[in-house]
Amino acid sequence: MYRDRKEWADLEPVPQDDGPNPVVKIAYSDKFTDVYDYFRALLKNDEKSDRALLLTAEAIELNAANYTVWHYRRVLLQALEKDLREEMRYITAIIEDQPKNYQVWHHRRMVVEWLNDPSEELEFIAEILSQDAKNYHAWQHRQWVIKEYKLWDSELEYVEQLLEEDVRNNSAWNQRHYIISHTTGYSDPAILNREVQYSLKQIKKAPHNESVWNYLKGILQDLGLSSHPGLLEQILELKETHCSPYLLGFLVDIYEDFLENTLEHHEEVLSKALELCELLAREKDTIRREYWSYVGRSLQTKYGSTSNRLIWIHSH
């Protein structure tokens, strides 16, 4: 306990003042109270010392979400001109232990910025992702490092490795989009086609993987789903052997895009789209019944002829 240590006897601990009738009062352990009473004392005196730095580590261990302590630690690191390489080792260990905490990742980012050295980052983040491939903080840090230090080169390869391990890893699909958008972009037809083919390949392997269907739509929607030659035919073919609610929803999207961008065959395309919305609402995706009914009504209103519109809306 700090209260028993000779080297700390000069400092008067500051108890927490919750007032006479506290609310949400936490039954802190003796250790917790002791450490934080001394932390408050340091703060009050604005003490900048090595013993203060050591105490912040203890305070962090007791509650790694205390952002006030982290801020103070950073003030100390600067004021005492501490070895930031050592701080990197420290924060590495803390993150390994508590990878789902905001403060630890923010702290790491600050240290990397001070050192202006991202050289350990991609490997470290990959290690954390190997334990939890969807850790949001890890991906956020990874995107920041890559953008800030222009480390784009090997990332697509890394993403493909992750998708190889779990083709349903939506974070990896997002990273794929991130990398390509920030490097080649999707406007080059060769790139777009490569991505469409890659997606179709993954669809054939696991047709009920929502991520890949969302990706396919995501990369084609700016140009228009109906503009990609042969896509509708390929999807209709897949419908026979690899059907899923996602495929059906994708068809609705293609048809909608046709309606938006072409004037021919309106009634035929609209009727196919409405039929699919009905099928999804009634049978294939009933959890989204209200949504698919709305989509149907909206399409009918926007693209239907007046008479058909009224009949259709009143029956739904």
Partner: protein, 434 residues
């Protein structure tokens, strides 16, 4: 008002068909999903056994309907408002949150907060207010947008003059300016991280306390829009994966700022509607991840916001009775799978209860029970009528009367004039350094 006593959707013949199809390709994602489905199936089959026992008496019959354990939750909340075990040391920098989660849960349950304790909450939150403005996670900690949001919401729930008077509006405004970034975003605290939560926290407190100035949210809507990604939802910062919590924060902030139409509402709607799990009935936070009770609010709560935005935009095909998600399925998930028999609610079966999940499961239950607004109101209560919760405001997530009352109070006061001021420090100065 519609009361669904039976049949439950999860008892239907077609329910088992809704289980995850892994196409024979097992990955971590599909394995985890199937584990959760198995545990839900377990819960449902236990309920089914109870449900199929003969209804010899009316009392017995009512016990077999999904029941919100009101008394148990009330006792859990009442105790927590005063005392928390050392398991809560990890939330020592989030105590205003604890106040808000508990007070909001109580108001949804329509349990009054005794005057004395309401006053004690006010006095405690006053101790959490920073001398330089905003609220901190506890006395003598640094101001942070998240506990600021929570503290202001908690004070508005209490809704007394004492509560409103706690807030130093001038200092709050200067705190908001101090965390504002040139690109329109906000950091969560001095020296802290940026993400879209901060814009919601800032917009929420600024609008409730009437301290919005013409420049405070300059470029903020553009920044929020840049968080919307290829999936249709929003990530924490531009480039990140679409996520329920961040999407709610971004959308709600845009609604407050009156700029919701800058977002692609259609693709946002598709994204969030797709987040409801076909088997479990609850919502996932991200595509291909697991269901979690708290997303009952963050995700389902988007549908009232979208409904209103689309309506404002002239959409005439919106339903007049229902949100665009399966309200019954969500209520069943919460009532059957997210209640701790000793009180409190949780993420999913097998997880521990906590006040965060209690707040957001109840908030989600309220969203699923109540369609509409003041003028148009349609209720759908799964189980007994006693399961009915109070309606909640879809933007602020406190009761609509409390929102109206707070806005009415603070609009009588002039908007503070922004100034760069050095605050005098009761606690210390170190925490205020950048």
């Amino acid at each position: 008002m519609e009361s669904v006593s039976s049949p439950l959707r999860c008892f239907g013949e077609c329910h088992t068909a809704e289980k995850y199809t892994d196409d024979g390709v097992e990955t971590v994602t599909s394995v985890e999903q199937r584990k959760v489905e198995r545990s839900i199936q377990e819960v449902v089959s236990v309920y089914k056994q109870i449900h199929s026992l003969p209804h010899t008496t009316a009392v017995f019959a009512t016990m077999t309907e999904p029941t919100l354990l009101r008394d148990q939750h009330y006792q859990y909340l009442k105790k927590g408002l005063r005392h928390l075990s050392d398991a809560y040391e990890c939330l020592d920098a989030s105590r205003p949150w604890l106040c808000y989660w508990i007070l909001h849960s109580l108001e949804l349950l329509e349990e009054p907060v005794p005057t004395a304790i309401a006053s004690d909450v006010c006095k405690f939150l006053a101790r959490c207010q920073s001398p330089t403005g905003g609220f901190a996670g506890g006395p003598c900690q640094a101001a942070h947008l998240a506990p600021t949001y929570a503290a202001v919401n908690a004070l508005c729930i209490i809704g007394t003059q004492e509560a409103y008077n706690i807030i130093d509006r001038e200092k709050l405004l200067s705190f908001l300016f101090s965390v504002k970034q040139p690109d329109g975003s906000f950091v969560m605290h001095i020296g802290g991280e940026v993400d879209v939560r901060s814009t919601y926290c800032a917009a929420s407190v600024a609008s409730l306390t009437n301290i919005m100035t013409p420049t405070l949210f300059q470029d903020t809507p553009t920044w929020i829009v840049s968080c919307q990604n290829w999936e249709g939802g929003l990530g924490g910062v531009p480039g990140l994966e679409a996520h329920g919590g961040y999407t709610f924060c971004g959308m709600a902030a845009m609604v407050i700022l009156g700029k919701e139409h800058m977002l692609d509402l259609k693709s946002l709607l598709r994204w969030v509607a797709s987040r409801q799990m076909r088997y479990e009935g609850g919502f996932q936070g991200r595509c291909n991840k697991l269901v979690d009770g708290c997303y009952s609010f963050w995700q389902a709560g988007l549908l009232p916001l979208l409904h209103r935005a689309l309506f404002k935009g002239g959409d005439s095909t919106l339903s007049l009775q229902k949100w665009m998600f399966e309200q019954q399925a969500l209520q069943e998930y919460i009532l059957l799978c997210c209640q701790n028999p000793a009180g409190g609610l949780l993420d999913k079966p097998g997880k521990s209860r906590d006040f965060y999940h209690t707040c957001y499961c109840l908030s989600g239950l309220s969203v699923a029970q109540h369609f509409g607004n003041m003028d148009l109101h349609h209720e759908l209560i799964v189980g007994r009528e006693e399961n009915r919760l109070a309606p909640s405001h879809p933007v602020y997530n406190i009761c609509p009367e409390k929102v109206a009352q707070a806005i009415q109070h603070f609009h009588q006061l002039p908007v503070p004039v922004p100034a760069q001021k050095e605050g005098s420090s009761a606690c210390n100065t170190t925490t205020d350094h950048s």
